[in-house]
Amino acid sequence: MATIPSSPAAVTPTTATAKSTLLSIRSVAKSFGKNVVLREISLDIAEGEFLTILGESGSGKTTLLRIVAGFESASSGEVWMGDQRLDRQPPYRRRVNTVFQHYALFPHLTVEQNVGYGLRVAGRPNAEIVTRVAEALGKVRMTEHAKSKPSKISGGQQQRVALARALVNRPRLLLLDEPLSALDANLRRQMQVELKSLQREVGIAFVFVTHDQEEAMVMSDRIALLRSGELEQIATPREIYSRPATAYVAQFIGHTNLLPGEVRQGVVHCNSLSWATQLPEGPVLFSLRPESIQVVSAAKPATPGQLRVRGRVRQQAFHGATELIRVQCLGDVVLTVRTPSGTGIPDEVDLEFSAASAVPVRPSAGRN
């Protein structure tokens, strides 16, 4: 069982593992006048990593991206790429490219000219430009639209051109600012897969900004969750889901139940439930995922090692393969439980979960 992270230091970045660090954001803070947008953000990005910066609007995720790209300067802190200090350089000297939210394709240039823009301003020889542009357009399957103006192609196609335009320069790091948010749901899902496989193929580190937790889970190697300018947690999708550091993270990523309790002499007391623990004394908050709770028949004897409660079904919502049911139990506690669809649910149910699946989380101010 994980211990409760007791200080903010416990959520400082999990440093990039095996692969070497490409980009290092050190204590970056940003405020616009009195409005503090980012507070002391530190995180490392590894070579070839797909890192998602996830957060609600206003969490500061886009500002952080713009600081790395160079469109915004940090109020304090540093950004390093290898042994080079990045945040003192103008954006056009950074080996970082960006895919903008609304693509920002040059309307007066053709698809081909857009993609070749970076190479042309860098003064590459013409023959090289032609080959590399053709190659990049091929990679995003836009060869046949090479001569079109951006206004003549669809949103998804513009998206791919924007990607090619950035990748053709072989940046060391690609920044993507909610690049899929303007696409409709189907295309979006398709692009998620495409983007992920493209990233594997080119091996360039991606920093991907989104407010969509599902998108973040599907694509990322690691997720950095921002909330009101602070880093709540940075971890792999699996880890962030199964071991959320705070109540906010637990709620933002997927569904969860939050159970307040108290530890007294090595025992957790949570309403009428209690189990042994190694957590320190004092109040405690647990996150319990809906799928870690099982509905069992009242006739079945209690499974050893499982905690068991009886409750009344208040609500049922069909989600395709599974259903989410809301069960009132332990007095006025309402637990959300995920069950396979199609199993008849009686009004009165018994619920079971293991003490290990209740993950202690730090309470988050404001939203709990």
């Binding site: 469109f71 960006t98 309307p107 970076g118």
Partner: protein
Amino acid sequence: MFSRAYKTIVTAPPLLWVTVFLLIPYLLMFCYSFWSVSAAQTIVHSWDLANYRTLFRVNVYWQTLLRSMGIAARVTIFSLLLGYPLAYFLSFYAGKRKDLFYQLVIIPLWVSYLVRAYAWKTILGSGGVLNTLLQYVHFTKHPLEFLLYSPFAVVLTLTHIYTPFAFLPIYAALEHIPRNLVEASHDLGATPAQTFRKVIFPLSIPGVVAGATFAFVLSLGDFLAPLLLGGPSGIMISNIVVSLFGAAYNWPLGAAISLCMLALVVSLLFLSEHLEKKWSFS
């Protein structure tokens, strides 16, 4: 949505206005341009192209027309050279003071044209502000004569007057350039100078074309600045038209010259509209 009667009532007055004060006069001018004046100073309703021939055969007419175009072209170039950097600075670098600067550019337009033209007369005259200053600093012993009553004075004054007209459409065009395009350009490695050349300027061309058209067309037809500041060498075609309709009493020739200018201006407007469309991407 609206009844037929309502539509008729609403559209009739402006239509009537345009017909009586614009279409009919133009038609009359068109007729006049083929007529002639007899020795007894009466209009002879003979239909021929004599007036048009005069315009292109008599030196003073076509030379003045050419000079007017030359002056208008210079005014256009100088207005753009002044207006573009100003618009660029305001749009990209003025920050919070943008509105203030914008008003400062607009305010001269509230001052009567005549006042502004007269102001230059006071500045450029032989006893004027500029000459007094130049003599005071011993730059020159005698007042510089070319300053006033010359094409130079006309170009200077018209540039001063029409620069805001060149500035406004350029400013509007620059303001319409999405800033993420500028960021994208920097992001792709283009320096600020390259970004200007390859992104900002091409996207501002419709504004430049509109501004140039304003400056050229307005100064081509100007007659007050040459009248007040031009002197004999700074006469423009409109001054000739004015005198033909006035003292010289040769309305037919005046009408012919006017129509030629009208044709010139209209074709310029068409050209400019075509260019603007070609370069607009919204």
